[in-house]
């Protein structure tokens, strides 16, 4: 088991990619802290991961709220005494809104959720990871923040915030590296999670087909295929990888 006894926080862990990451980490022996704002989904995910025999602590947390993030970390430390892995997964867009369609409040909400939330979580776990002289932070970015959105679905604010996540990753990686903490990002392309499916089905057929034709692997990704990357980054196999972005887009854009 690659993550035996590690304590892993997964934000946005109740559904989709987050749930897949929490599940994959649990299968590798980690103790899971499942954070989300969606209470019913959170309870269901907790039960599912517990059924694998894993220890799970589930917490309702709004990652855009500093006090809630601080309280979350405090609870984890009180429960398990350490935080080994943080997966900043909570995020989301508001649909395909471009420059002129994006309202100020929408911009703020999207940037808060996708970028500020990750900043707050990084900041609040840093002290514990420094004490341990070991830590792994994995930030979920997006193909849309690395290159451009392949479907346009996430919208302008989402792409910009995810670009910010990549830069947050590099800066925090350099700041925490000498303490034995690695910080990396995953930039997924189109992934057919629950939400991804809904978005996919809302796409015009022509666009759907074009994106698939432009993707060398000829298909969209599965949440499990992002989760396996997170496990890699959290494991000893990635001990000399930091500040890096792993792009998982089926080859849609390669650079």
């Amino acid at each position: 088991m690659k993550l035996a006894e590690r304590v892993a926080i997964v934000t946005g862990g109740a559904l989709g990619i987050g749930k897949a990451i929490a599940t994959a980490c649990a299968r590798e022996g980690a103790r899971i802290v499942l954070c989300d704002i969606a209470a019913p989904a959170l309870a269901a995910a907790e039960a599912e991961i517990r059924a694998l025999g894993a220890s799970v602590l589930s917490l309702r947390v709004d990652v855009t709220d500093r006090a809630q993030v601080a309280a979350m970390v405090e609870t984890v430390l009180k429960t398990w005494g350490r935080v080994d892995i943080l997966v900043n997964n909570a995020g989301g867009g508001i649909g395909p809104k471009g420059l002129t369609e994006t309202r100020d409040d929408e911009w703020d909400a999207v940037v808060n959720l996708n970028l500020k939330g990750q900043f707050l979580c990084c900041r609040e776990v840093a002290a514990a990871m420094r004490r341990q002289a070991w830590g792994r932070i994995i930030n979920i970015a997006s193909n849309a923040g690395r290159y451009r959105s392949n479907t346009g679905f996430g919208g302008l604010a989402y792409s910009a915030a995810k670009g910010g996540v990549l830069q947050l990753t590099r800066s925090v990686a350099h700041e925490l590296g000498s303490a034995g903490i690695t910080v990396n990002a995953i930039a997924p392309g189109s992934v057919l999670s629950e939400r991804g499916w809904r978005e996919f089905e809302a796409l015009p057929v022509e666009l759907r087909e074009r994106v698939l034709a432009e993707t060398p692997l000829g298909r969209f990704g599965r949440a499990e295929e992002i989760a396996s990357i997170a496990v890699f980054l959290a494991s000893e196999d990635a001990s000399y990888v930091t500040g890096a972005t792993i792009v998982a887009n089926g080859g849609w854009c390669a650079a």
Partner: protein, 260 residues
Amino acid sequence: MPELLDRVAVVTGATGVVGAAVAQRFAEEGARIVLVDDDEAALTRVRETLRRPPESMDSLAADLSSESQVSPLVTRVLARFGRIDILVNAMGMAEEPPWDEPGPAAWERRLRSLTACVLCCEAIAPEMRRQGRGRIVNIAAPAGRYRSAYARPEGVTGTGAPSAVTGGGVLALTRELSLELGPHGVTVNAVAPGWILTERSTREWERMSERARRDVLAEISLSRPGRPGEVAGVVLFLASDASSYVSGSTIDVNGGWWMS
């Protein structure tokens, strides 16, 4: 459960420390391994350290920059194991010319290693296409992704350009092949190592001034050089099922030196 159980992996540049570390890691994960390099004696040494049963292991001394020696390799692996699941081209880290090697010799040697990488990919890709799956992992020379990390000390002649150009060539090859082979279930990715402890980098380190060493360490986020096994861990990821939606990518394994 071993991650590469019974997978057949060809590792070129297998006698360099990184190639040997990849072979070691693959062996631990249950792969059947074919080691290739041009130095028979060194191949034997690596083979012995792996301690794998003979039915899971083969090695071949060949100059892979020559097409006439590449196709016999493929024939032999198929005759022996019936398939090729993974190709790791590690010559990017195996054939580092020494700092002092004169330009023309360095160019020739480096270009030959790029040719070898191209020829191996081209020779093995058709087999992977037939299988409908495969993994190609190319390890680029460090200067291929970013410029060299440190300048040569005073008095050292030679140029880093051959490494940079051929390493960059390996990365371009990787991207292009990912487009061609993706529809056939074959992923093609690259690893871009930074400062890894090899015999050559250790020799270079010894020649550097105290000041230069301090500067280098200060630039690396993790404040240390990498071990060959740490490159092998990333190669394993790219060769395993865990990276099934990753193709055309380059993963930096540099401890957070340069980032992009």
